[in-house]
């Protein structure tokens, strides 16, 4: 049975979830448009469909907790608090971008928000998360390192090395697998001997849980519980959130390997309209109130695009800056 929303969080928080999911979706769809226009270049991996994971999980963490992710990380950065216009400017390669236009879509970073990076080497963020958790514990800081990654990343050596290490050193790492069932065009059961990913932690005696990643409330509750467990025990915890990306792996991928039936099945579970309905049915918001939220999100993203368009390119001399201290 679904929990009644009001038992889970105050109305304001519940509406914020919708707001954050909506802006994430809107941001990504506008990115696709700007890519088609040639304003965004390079690799562009969109998050549409997976919003409930970033939003629910971020809400379940403390602001001091670190977040690390892979290359499909626009939403994670924005939900954590990065300004959409500075993220968009980064994607445009402009000097006003989050990383001065040196990172691009796959390498967002905002240390003031404890958003410690998007990494484009599959599995690269695992050990870095463990190291951040080690530093936090060493310095006596109350922080969890939340490490997001895909189903494809669990077959990297760093996954196993880092799970072992986090448990061995008893470090506060929360591993969050976003299982969207595909690594590019390869379905999980064609890459993982044990396709039920959360079960893979038993070799390291790390408690794990599987959660419906299309349900923002389910993700929120699972991550909140898990983060509390990590804080309480000082040990790692593992969450597998099952989800789906509505678009191809990147803008270059038409996604031919998934059937219409499969796509339709997941589209019916789209976290946005489903959550909107719940908010209305449970009397937390009217359709008009949600329309307002949506309009505001659209305006913010419009402004982000304008800001990115109007921002200056990096100066040539920037090439030599920021490499060494």
């Amino acid at each position: 049975m679904e929990a009644q929303l009001r038992k889970v969080a105050p109305d304001q928080e519940l509406l914020k979830f919708y707001d954050q999911m909506f802006i994430s979706r809107e941001f990504e769809e506008r990115c696709a448009e700007q890519y088609t226009k040639g304003h965004i270049t390079g690799f562009l991996h969109l998050y549409s469909g997976q919003e409930a994971v970033a939003v629910g999980a971020t809400a379940g963490l403390h602001r001091d907790d670190y977040i690390l992710s892979a290359y499909r990380e626009h939403a994670q950065a924005i939900v954590r608090g990065a300004e959409p216009r500075r993220v968009m400017a980064e994607l445009f390669g402009k000097a006003t971008g989050l990383c001065k236009g040196k990172g691009g879509s796959m390498h967002l970073f905002a240390p003031d928000l404890n958003f410690m990076g998007g990494y484009a080497i599959v599995g690269g963020q695992f050990p870095i998360s463990v190291g951040l958790a080690f530093a936090a514990r060493y310095r006596g800081e109350d922080r969890v390192a939340a490490c997001f990654f895909g189903d494809g990343a669990v077959n990297q050596g760093t996954f196993h090395e880092s799970l072992n290490w986090a448990q061995l050193w008893q470090l506060p790492v929360l591993f969050i697998c976003e299982n969207n069932f595909y690594g590019i065009g390869t379905e999980v059961h064609r890459s993982s001997a044990l396709a039920s990913i959360h079960k893979r932690t038993c070799g390291y005696d790390i408690p794990s849980e599987k959660v419906d990643g299309m349900d923002v409330i389910a993700v929120y509750r699972a991550v909140k519980y898990a983060a509390e467990k990590v804080r309480e025990t000082g040990r790692p915890y593992f969450i597998e959130a099952t989800t789906f990306r509505f678009r191809g792996h990147s803008m270059a991928d038409p996604g031919k390997y998934r059937s219409a039936a499969e796509n339709d099945m997941w589209k019916a579970r789209d976290p946005l309209p489903n959550y909107a309905n719940r908010l209305i049915v449970e009397g937390i918001a009217t359709r008009a109130a949600l329309d307002d939220i949506e309009a505001r999100c659209r305006t913010t993203v419009d402004e982000a695009v304008t800001f990115a368009e109007e921002s200056p390119w990096p100066e040539d001399r920037e090439i030599w800056e920021d490499i060494y201290v």
């Binding site: 990076g117 050990p127 870095i128 951040l132 080690f134 290490w165």
Partner: protein, 328 residues
């Protein structure tokens, strides 16, 4: 000044820096309880305890990744990779992460971390344990690469590396651990990063070398002095950044250069340095720059043939004689 071994100088540098700064932590395979495969971390666990001196699993890539994260999170980690050969398992974290993070994140963070790696050949350890991979690291921007030849430089450079806010690859030559030399006692004695050192002044030929090759070059210079050939020995110490200034100043004085490298010849640092000399000093060179290099082969085990693969006093001497001869 105190006389001590290269190993003890490194050990002292670690201890002094750990006393100096509580954010310095040491981690690696067998560095704590076992005190290091080469005993460079002797006495660290007993003085600084388990929170600061940490044995790790045999997970090289993760040793570096954890160090990257720890550095980003406010610590000053000193990781030991048991030998440089195993750094190849960590090249993803070294090259794709450590060396990139500051730049690709727009300068918003820095990684004050050091990776110590013993390396070099000459102990009949076979092809997988005898490599000199310095140019692998030099090739990649975003980190410094240091390789001391003497105990004093070992101490002063390691201290500078640990205090530096950039990632540093710190190479140590396995055959130098027992070598002895005078080391300043001052705990503030630091050797600057990016400065080569003229270890012996001379007039006719510049020998550019580093690490164990410097020791051989000094021996060659000594021996040739008695036959009236005056060699200047430039010890690089820092491979990244390379100290062009000191190299070129010396070559402008002598007009001749021999570069000695333990690494493989193809795309080796000798090629890089020879090229820089040719570009900057072509008009005053009395002879083309000559390289003495490790042979381009996987290292054989047998000591009879292993030594043919590594520069020796004889081969360096021959190279100096070559650049001195009129018909070279």
């Amino acid at each position: 000044m105190s006389e001590m071994t290269y190993r003890d100088a490194l050990n002292l540098a670690l201890k002094e820096e750990m006393r100096h700064d509580p954010s310095v932590v040491v981690l690696g395979e067998d560095v704590a309880l076992y005190e290091g495969a080469f005993k460079v971390t002797r006495g660290l666990l007993s003085e600084f305890g388990e929170e600061r001196v940490k044995d790790t699993p045999i997970s090289e890539n993760t040793i570096i990744g954890v160090s990257v994260g720890a550095a980003m999170g406010g610590l000053r980690p000193v990781a030991e990779l048991m030998t440089v050969n195993f750094a190849l398992l960590a090249m993803d974290q070294i090259v794709n992460h450590m060396a990139k993070i500051r730049s690709m994140f727009g300068g918003q963070t820095c990684l004050p971390m050091t990776i110590r790696m013993p390396g070099g050949g000459g102990s009949q350890l076979g092809a997988q344990h005898s490599q000199s991979l310095e140019t692998y690291f030099m090739h990649c921007p975003g980190m410094y690469v240091l390789y001391p030849a003497t105990p004093a430089d070992a101490k002063g450079l390691l201290k500078s590396a640990i205090r530096n806010n950039n990632p540093v690859i710190f190479l140590e030559h396995e055959l130098l651990y027992n070598s002895k030399g005078e080391v300043p006692d001052d705990p503030e004695f630091l050797v600057p990063i990016g400065k080569a050192d003229v270890k012996r002044a001379g007039e006719q030929v510049t020998i550019v070398a580093y690490a164990r090759m410097t020791i051989l070059a000094l021996q060659v210079a000594d021996e040739l002095a008695s036959s009236g050939i005056s060699c200047e020995v430039v010890d690089l110490r820092s491979l990244t950044p390379l100290d062009d200034e000191t190299i070129l100043t010396s070559v402008r004085k002598t007009g001749r250069a021999v570069v000695v490298e333990e690494c493989w010849r193809t795309c080796g640092l000798g090629a890089e340095i020879a090229s820089r000399i040719h570009e900057q000093c072509f008009d005053i060179l009395k002879a083309p720059v000559k390289r003495v290099s490790g042979l381009d082969v996987p290292m054989p085990y047998s000591r009879k043939i292993e030594k043919l693969c590594i520069p020796q006093v004889e081969t360096i001497t021959q190279a100096v004689m070559d650049v001195m001869s009129d018909n070279y």
